[in-house]
């Protein structure tokens, strides 16, 4: 016997480690709509297998909890069972010696709080409130419900124009989404169970880059109904597009010089090239939409006048006002908001940051857009100051990494406290207070607290505040459009605005700043419900024949990602930074699609919505 041994994992241990990784991916790829009680039971069984067996609550208690929850699922429980489950779980939380037992029981308690109605439904009616409403995970997670397996198959066969037509059935902005969509569709891609989610956005980009000009399907006969759309961003454009295709007369009123909303006045050209945006808008307008730019509803024309002159109104004004930090010195010269800076860039009025030191406040995607734009405007140094840790930033990790690669300094755990200005009131520096990360808040994000350290001075000629946007309520609120406490309009899930029968609203102005695809989906939903409100039931469909799936026999294969132009080159201009997939890449990537529209639940409960 040696006195000490070097630790080497056994074969069993190595295999189990791999299984853990497989399970992580598998849980991440859970289809939306599963029975939450059943999932709780399964997690509990996993947790129970982790117990060392020393302590009573964990060794025995978790086992009894699994039996009780199984009774609920098997229809053998009474309402009292739920009380016993709660009491037992509470006791385990209170008495378990370590996290294995305590947190396992906490999951049960969280479930009893979060979906008690489902427990009760199982007990009282032997059934579950959950159901797989949409059988295809990517489609169900796309706010607009785009037929993703359909266009994966089309792109695989080289039918790019058909792919664009199929996407347009649910989303009239395939190009925008090909470049900048946050692709919620990829989150639960079933391919993740095998290797990794499909690169859906990358495939879409290949399709739109290679489809050529795809004409729109002809409009339905004119109905004579007039709809005013306030705001020419993705939501307003989408709504106008579908209304025009249904035969209604759609008129957009846009406050800015040009259409596009945040796609133009928020998203920098290096992420979404302007000519692509202009081409997309041109395609949408080609279905026959009247446009009035430089018109501010509220000052140039009143909301009430529009209500009188049009049969229906869709409010989609987005979130274009800036939020203030409230720190001393914020009103100094050369302190600007992200909205101002990116707005000017959107109108091709490029500020000159040559040789300047720029400080950016914020940790979201907009802060990264500002940071990376500032670098491109010639800044000598750009520092992005953020209160929490880099990992806590709401910006996409790729955006943060991209900014760092382009030379930005990301200063985390730095809470802005004041702006120092010279005697002329011109900003000279941003002062930040170092932070210590603390306990989690209710949403599961850790709170930053002041660290016992001295404030730090960041010299800055220009300071950009990028901590969120608000909504311009003036002109609407006094006309009776209901407003929520948080500063957004109130609308039903149908888009209908409360008691104003011919008014609909959607997009950022209802949800608060969100993604393009959510705004597009809101426009689609509003168009459908406005059509019904106007007394019609036009159906939107595209006559695209989807190729049959190939045999479901696919060995694990790495995900094929798009690449980027190298940092030192891309940071000098506003040109597209992404290099799309190649033809061989897109063929291999689309072959990875598991065609959930056909295999699994899709073939049973209809993996395809052909019209809406």
């Amino acid at each position: 016997m040696s006195r000490l041994d070097i630790k080497m994992p056994s074969k069993a241990q190595t295999t189990v480690e791999n299984l853990y990784k497989d399970m992580e991916r598998r849980i991440a790829a859970s289809p939306p709509g599963l029975c939450p009680v059943d999932m709780s039971l399964t997690f509990l069984q996993l947790s129970h297998a982790q117990t060392c067996g020393k302590c009573v609550p964990c060794r025995i208690g978790l086992g009894q909890l699994t039996k009780l929850i199984a009774q609920v699922l098997d229809g053998e429980a009474t309402m009292e069972t739920i009380d016993i489950i709660e009491k037992t779980a509470r006791s385990i939380v209170n008495t378990a010696d370590c996290a294995i037992g305590r947190d396992a029981a906490r999951l049960v308690l969280d479930g009893l709080e979060g979906f008690r109605d489902d427990y009760e439904e199982h007990v009282q009616h032997h059934r579950c409130l959950a159901s797989l409403q949409t059988p295809v995970p990517c489609v169900s997670l796309c706010p607009a419900g785009v037929d993703i397996p359909g266009y994966m198959a089309l792109v695989h066969r080289g039918r790019y124009a058909d792919a664009v037509r199929l996407i347009r059935k649910d989303n009239p902005m395939p190009v925008a989404c090909a470049y900048i969509c946050e692709h919620p569709c990829e989150a639960r891609c079933r391919r993740g169970m095998i290797d990794d989610a499909l690169n859906i956005r990358g495939v879409k980009r290949y399709a739109v880059d290679h489809s050529g000009l795809v004409p729109n399907t002809p409009n339905a006969p004119a109905t004579g109904k007039k709809v005013a759309i306030i705001g020419g961003g993705p939501s307003g454009l989408s709504c106008a597009y579908y209304l025009a295709r249904m035969g209604h007369s759609a008129t957009i009123f846009e406050k800015h010089k040009k259409l596009g909303g945040m796609l133009r006045y928020g998203i920098p050209a290096y992420r979404f090239p302007r000519e692509k945006l202009d081409g997309e808008i041109e395609s949408i307008l080609s279905v026959g939409i009247e446009v009035h730019t430089n018109v501010n509803v509220g000052t140039d024309i009143t909301f009430d006048t529009l209500r009188e002159e049009f049969d229906c109104i869709y409010i989609a004004i987005g979130a274009h006002t800036d939020k203030k930090t409230g720190i001393p010195g914020e009103d100094s010269k050369n302190v600007m908001s992200a909205v101002e800076m990116l707005g000017a860039i959107g109108d091709d009025e490029m500020p000159d940051f040559t040789g300047k030191h720029v400080a950016v406040i914020g940790g979201g995607n907009v802060a990264m857009d500002v940071t990376r734009s500032a670098i491109r405007l010639g800044a000598e140094k750009v520092t992005c100051a953020y209160r929490r840790r880099t990992a806590d930033m709401t910006a996409l990790p790729d955006e943060v990494l991209g900014a760092i690669a382009e030379g930005a300094e990301v200063m985390s755990l730095a809470a802005p406290v004041r702006i120092e200005a010279d005697e002329n009131g011109v900003a000279r520096a941003l002062w930040v207070q170092p932070q210590l990360i603390g306990e989690m808040d209710k949403a599961g994000r850790p709170r930053p607290n002041n660290a016992k350290m001295e404030p730090v001075r960041i010299p800055a000629d220009i300071i950009v505040v990028a901590i969120g946007q608000g909504i311009e309520m003036a002109g609407f609120e006094q006309s009776g459009v209901p407003v929520k406490h948080g500063g957004t309009f109130v609308a039903e899930l149908s888009g209908q605005v409360g008691n104003m029968e011919n008014v609909f609203a959607g997009g950022d102005c209802v949800t608060g700043p969100a993604t393009a695809i959510r705004a597009i989906a809101a426009g689609k939903v509003a168009a459908a419900n406005i059509d019904e409100y106007l007394g019609f039931h036009h159906e939107i469909n595209e006559d695209v024949d989807i190729p049959n799936p190939e045999l479901n026999n696919r060995p694990p294969h790495g995900r094929i990602d798009t690449t980027e132009v190298e940092a030192c080159q891309r940071k000098c201009n506003f040109e597209d930074i992404e290099i799309g997939l190649t033809e061989e890449g897109v063929i291999a990537e689309t072959a990875r699609c598991l065609r959930c529209d056909h295999f699994g639940f899709g073939i049973f409960k209809g993996g395809r919505v052909e019209k809406w």
């Binding site: 709509g33 599963l34 029975c35 059943d38 999932m39 399964t42 699922l73 098997d74 229809g75 053998e76 439904e121 009616h125 032997h126 059934r127 579950c128 409130l129 959950a130 159901s131 797989l132 049959n548 045999l551 479901n552 026999n553 060995p555 056909h598 073939i603 049973f604 409960k605």
Partner: protein
């Protein structure tokens, strides 16, 4: 065309053909359980898996298309193993007390288990403990269900009712009634198409044979049985007898053998229905502005439940005439009771119907016009009647032919076609034409309403009355399309016949079950053939019906006819009605 090899046979089939169908074309049978052509090709049971050269995993043959040069093996060692394992897995969740199951001997799972010689149990039995509900005409027995999803698909794709659905997720996933309802709370039409498409005994009619045995055993009861038109086209299928031999008259002998005092024919009541409904149509047609259009037939209880549940605004459009079963019951417990001098409360009326919804119809609370008791006491399906014959060890092959009893046993060719789609319309037009013109049209004038097409339209001109625009639909999915088109104003008709089951009663939910076969057309042809060979082919020429009017009802739509032969459908409610 695509050429491939299956079990070393070269096969050439059109592109997009499934491997299963390609194999079938060269007489290679791949076993299936969930598969139902064009309706349920979802590869759920995984029994139809085959091995394809070059593919690591087995492939279900029902939902995968052939490819050029494919080499398929339908019985490789891997396939054999997989099929047996999957079958055993199905059996682990199946109540295998076959001896107590009405589908024993006619069960896909039982046949496969026997074919694959599966002895003993390999898996732990895993049955559910939730109780089954036997109160409705359609009964689902959970532990017999193999979750093949056929019922869900028939209800969705053919009948468009969306009653059955997959409930829950995960290991406890089950078939049940969707939208958080029970069957009793739902707007199910009880058409029974889910039953006739179930491969096992999970779905069946509520068995009411016990109540009939009790009545037959009760010396105080005068037992009367009526047999619906479509039953005679299907009743002997169990015995593999040709319908030409297995006539209605032979069925009469079997029923008599069981001990019924009177064996009558629903066809008699069908002729009576034509007199009432035909007269009603003419009354409406000649006073157009006083009625809502079109007029609908009202003999199908699945359709009655459908209108009330789905298109309640159209209830007024239904003919007020009772169905033939309803008219028969009312006449039996009034006119006939008087005639034989029996207290109608002592009369027990049994209907043998090709239908499960008829069980619900006889429970409509206002179908009690004759004496306050239900006009019809028990409805049996064709299947239940055959089960009763079997219980008596009656062998129809050796039974003689015997006439229906008189007077409610005589009928015309116009009555027997009630059992096929278009038949009611055809019969009604024959008599309407006569009632207007005083002359019979040739009996085969209205052939445009016959045939298996789901939605038929025609216009006939009756001299003196003008053109009559008619439509005939069968299957509730087709019916919904027609109703939507009517509502949207895309179509307009004067008279519409609706049958809930595809092909009409011949394909009814109470008919014998032959897995994977649709027999509505074949049975319908049997009925049309009977019509062609009848001496009398017009309802208004049924002597006993005319006598009934002469002795009792005076004339169609008379006061007494209204009381006994017509009904108000607003007097009862669907569970979904407020």
């Amino acid at each position: 065309m695509v050429t491939l090899k299956i079990d070393n046979k070269v096969v050439t089939v059109p592109e997009d053909t499934t491997i299963l169908e390609a194999a079938k074309s060269v007489h290679i049978d791949i076993p299936t359980l969930c598969y139902l052509k064009d309706i349920n090709e979802i590869a759920a049971c995984r029994l139809c898996v085959v091995e394809i050269e070059g593919h690591a995993r087995l492939v279900p043959s029902c939902d995968n298309a052939v490819a050029e040069g494919m080499v398929v093996y339908t019985n490789s060692p891997r396939v054999r193993e997989a099929r047996r394992v999957n079958l055993r897995l199905l059996l682990s969740q199946h109540d295998t007390q076959c001896t107590k199951c009405t589908r024993s001997g006619n069960c896909k799972l039982q046949q496969l288990t026997t074919d694959y010689n599966l002895l003993g149990e390999h898996y732990v039995k895993d049955l559910k403990k939730t109780p089954d509900d036997y109160s409705n005409p359609v009964v689902r027995i959970t532990n017999r269900c193999v979750r093949c999803m056929r019922c869900v698909q028939i209800c969705d794709k053919v009948q468009g009712m969306h009653i059955w659905d997959l409930i829950g997720t995960g290991s406890r996933t089950d078939v049940g009634v969707g939208n958080f309802r029970t069957l009793s709370e739902s707007d199910c039409t009880f058409c029974g198409q889910c039953i006739t498409h179930c491969p096992v005994g999970a779905l069946q009619e509520r068995d009411d044979t016990g109540r009939v045995w009790d009545a037959l055993a009760d010396p105080k009861k005068v037992t009367i049985v009526q047999v619906a038109p479509a039953v005679r086209a299907a009743w002997a299928e169990h015995y593999h007898l040709d319908p030409k031999f297995a006539t209605a008259k032979r069925m009469v002998s079997c029923l008599k053998e069981m001990g019924f005092n009177y064996v009558f024919d629903t066809n008699f009541a069908a002729d009576l229905t034509i007199m009432e409904e035909g007269s009603e149509f003419l009354e409406r047609f000649t006073h157009r502005d006083q009625y809502r259009w079109p007029m609908f037939t009202s003999c199908c209880p699945g359709w009655m439940r459908f209108v009330k549940g789905q298109f309640p605004n159209y209830v007024q459009n239904l003919s007020s005439a009772k169905s033939p079963q309803g008219m028969f019951g009312a006449v039996a417990k009034s006119y006939f009771a008087e005639k034989i001098g029996v207290d109608p409360h002592d009369i027990f009326v049994v209907s043998v119907m090709p239908c499960t919804a008829k069980k619900s119809e006889c429970e409509f609370p206002n179908l009690n016009d004759a004496c306050g008791d239900p006009d019809v006491d028990v409805v049996l399906t064709t299947r239940e009647m055959v089960r009763m014959f079997r219980g008596e060890q009656i062998d129809p092959a050796h039974m003689p032919e015997q006439e229906f009893d008189s007077p409610l046993g005589s009928s015309t060719g116009a009555a027997v076609i009630f059992g096929a789609t278009g038949g009611v319309m055809d019969a009604a037009l024959r008599s309407a034409y006569y009632l207007v013109t005083g002359e019979n049209p040739p009996a085969d004038t209205f052939t445009a309403v016959r045939g298996m097409e789901g939605w038929k339209e025609a216009t006939f001109t009756i001299p003196g009355a003008g053109p009559v625009r008619v439509a005939v639909v069968s299957g509730l999915g087709n019916t919904r399309r027609l109703m939507n088109a009517l509502q949207a104003g895309d179509v307009s008709y004067d008279f519409v016949e609706v049958m809930a089951c595809p092909g009409g009663c011949a394909g009814g939910g109470g008919q014998p079950i032959h897995d994977g076969k649709e027999l509505a057309e074949y049975r319908g042809d049997v009925l049309w053939e009977i019509d062609r060979n009848m001496a009398v082919r017009y309802s208004h020429e049924n002597e006993d019906v005319l006598k009934l009017y002469h002795e009792y009802f005076e004339k169609p739509l008379s006061h007494r006819a209204h009381h006994l032969l017509h009904t108000d459908l607003t007097q009862w409610k669907m569970p979904t009605e407020k």
